[in-house]
């Protein structure tokens, strides 16, 4: 089964900023290690939500607005794509994502198989 791990976190990054430089490097290392984990087929960090543009089309007209779709405190900051036998595998990897313990959350969603 294929899963997408959507990484949500508070963009103010206060938790991350509180850490020492070494700890911060450690965290980036963890993200890298996860992308190297067997089964993880893709993943990226996204630029901050201030760089987002949202598009809707109404009556054939494209409406473009500045900013992300959801203006919540937690924003989508990145994702991983994962091939796994079952949900438990996906959940264990999700729990290792640093954002999960730094005040953020990971949504684990199966990808539609086509």
């Amino acid at each position: 089964m294929q899963y997408m791990l959507l990484i949500y976190s508070n963009e103010s990054m206060t938790e991350f900023d509180k850490l020492s430089e070494d700890e911060q490097k450690g965290i980036l290392g963890e993200y890298y290690a996860i992308s190297e984990t067997p089964g993880v087929t893709g993943g990226n960090q996204l630029e901050p939500s201030t760089t987002a543009t949202t598009v809707r089309v109404q009556d054939g007209q494209a409406l473009t607005t500045d900013g992300p779709f959801a203006t919540t405190k937690e924003v989508l900051g990145g994702y991983y794509l994962l091939e796994a036998d079952d949900l438990d595998t996906a959940l264990e990897i999700a729990a290792r994502i640093p954002a999960a313990r730094l005040g953020g959350a990971i949504e684990v969603r199966p990808v539609v198989a086509r």
């Binding site: 089964m1 899963y3 796994a84 036998d85 079952d86 949900l87 438990d88 996906a90 959940l91 684990v108 199966p110």
Partner: protein, 375 residues
């Protein structure tokens, strides 16, 4: 049987459907052809093959590659096969943390307890369509999200334990009101859990608790009404089951158990003595109350305090318990007021209790106590 089918087919809906078809076929054939030597194996093999035919027709073989290994000929299977009992796999699946708590319980009651949707809806005081939707969504989630059908690996077991134990105990309690097959199912699950985790004290103590309660099932009802513990015919108690329950409790305590199930089992064991050590029972309820913060536990503690002789103190404790809509509270108050000769207040409390009671047996009992006040 359902658990085994879910294990073979990997899908609760298909398993239920297949089981029903197999039973229908049995009802049709066995009167004509005679009952097979191994009825359970026949049913399971038939159900599985019916499901395979269905799946082939639905063209979803890719997802069911397990079944491709199944031989065509049904008859060869019947004599030889011993199908594994996959109750534990089923309960861990139902209790997976990816499912909402209410869905976990409903699904377990449905697949392991065999309760109908209507019965589960009644037990949780929700409308039947709501419960039906809840069950459908839970089964869909299991399929769509890839919740595995298995006992979790060792490193995940401790986290999953408390939910599973709670759900097993819930199934037991559903059966405690007279549905013995449910209580039996819960006890079977309890035994399987002990086999799986022999060194976990709470697992052992839950089994002890269920055995001790269930041992008194023949004595709890008479003429459709409830018989109180003190009035029960002890010759109807299952002495073997009590011994087994106490052995399990001893082992659980020896393993260091002091959690909620250990305390409840110890209390249950003490209740069976004649006369019960009420001060010790009250003390254990106190410990349990500190662990759980439950008002029902506090209610039980008050009752034990009364039995130990401190009726006034017990009444004061009851007045502090916030369970206005719980008939047991008013029944307990009624009893204590009766002992203090406050007849009018006792009568009012019995009325209140009867109005709130759920079962005919409870209502009959409370009515009788009310009537006894007059004389």
């Amino acid at each position: 049987m359902l658990a085994t089918l879910v294990g073979l087919l990997g899908d609760i809906d298909r398993a239920e459907e297949a089981a029903q078809s197999a039973f229908a076929r049995a009802a049709e054939r066995w009167p004509r052809e005679g009952t097979p030597a191994n009825p359970r194996a026949w049913l399971i093999a038939t159900a599985r093959n019916l499901a395979i035919d269905r799946i082939r027709r639905d063209r979803t073989l890719a997802a069911k590659t397990r079944l491709l290994e199944v031989p065509e000929n049904v008859d060869d299977e019947i004599a030889e096969t011993a199908f594994p009992d996959e109750r534990l796999e089923l309960i861990f699946t139902c209790c997976h943390p990816a499912l909402a708590t209410e869905a976990q319980v409903a699904l377990a009651l449905r697949t392991l307890g065999g309760l109908t949707t209507a019965e589960i809806a009644r037990a949780f005081l929700v409308p039947e369509p709501t419960m039906a939707k809840r069950l459908v969504r839970a089964k869909q989630k299991i399929k769509a999200a890839g919740i595995p059908f298995r006992v979790p690996p060792d490193h995940l077991l401790p986290d999953r334990l408390s939910t599973v134990l709670a759900v097993i105990y819930l199934i037991f309690n559903e059966g405690y009101g007279g549905r013995n097959e449910l209580a039996a199912e819960a006890i079977l699950l309890g035994r399987a859990m002990v086999e799986l985790m022999p060194d976990e004290p709470e697992v052992r103590c839950l089994l002890a608790l269920m055995l001790l309660h269930d041992a008194r099932r023949e004595a709890r009802f008479a003429d459709g009404t409830l018989v109180l513990l003190g009035d029960q015919d002890r010759s109807l108690w299952d002495a073997g089951q009590i011994a087994a329950g106490r052995a399990a409790l001893d082992r659980g305590l020896a393993l260091g158990g002091r959690g909620p199930y250990a305390l409840q089992a110890a209390i249950a064991s003490l209740h069976l003595e004649e006369p019960p050590d009420w001060p010790q029972i009250a003390a254990l309820y106190g410990e349990l109350g500190r662990l759980t913060g439950s008002p029902v536990v506090e209610l039980n503690r008050a009752v034990a305090v009364a039995e130990a002789g401190e009726v006034e103190a017990a009444l004061a404790l009851l007045d502090a318990v916030e369970l206005e809509d719980y008939h047991h509270l008013h029944a307990a108050r009624a009893e204590l007021l009766r002992r203090l000769d406050r007849v009018e207040e006792s009568g009012a409390a019995y009325e209140r209790a009867r109005a709130l009671a759920h079962s005919d047996a409870d209502r009959a009992f409370l009515q009788r106590r009310r009537d006894e006040l007059e004389s």
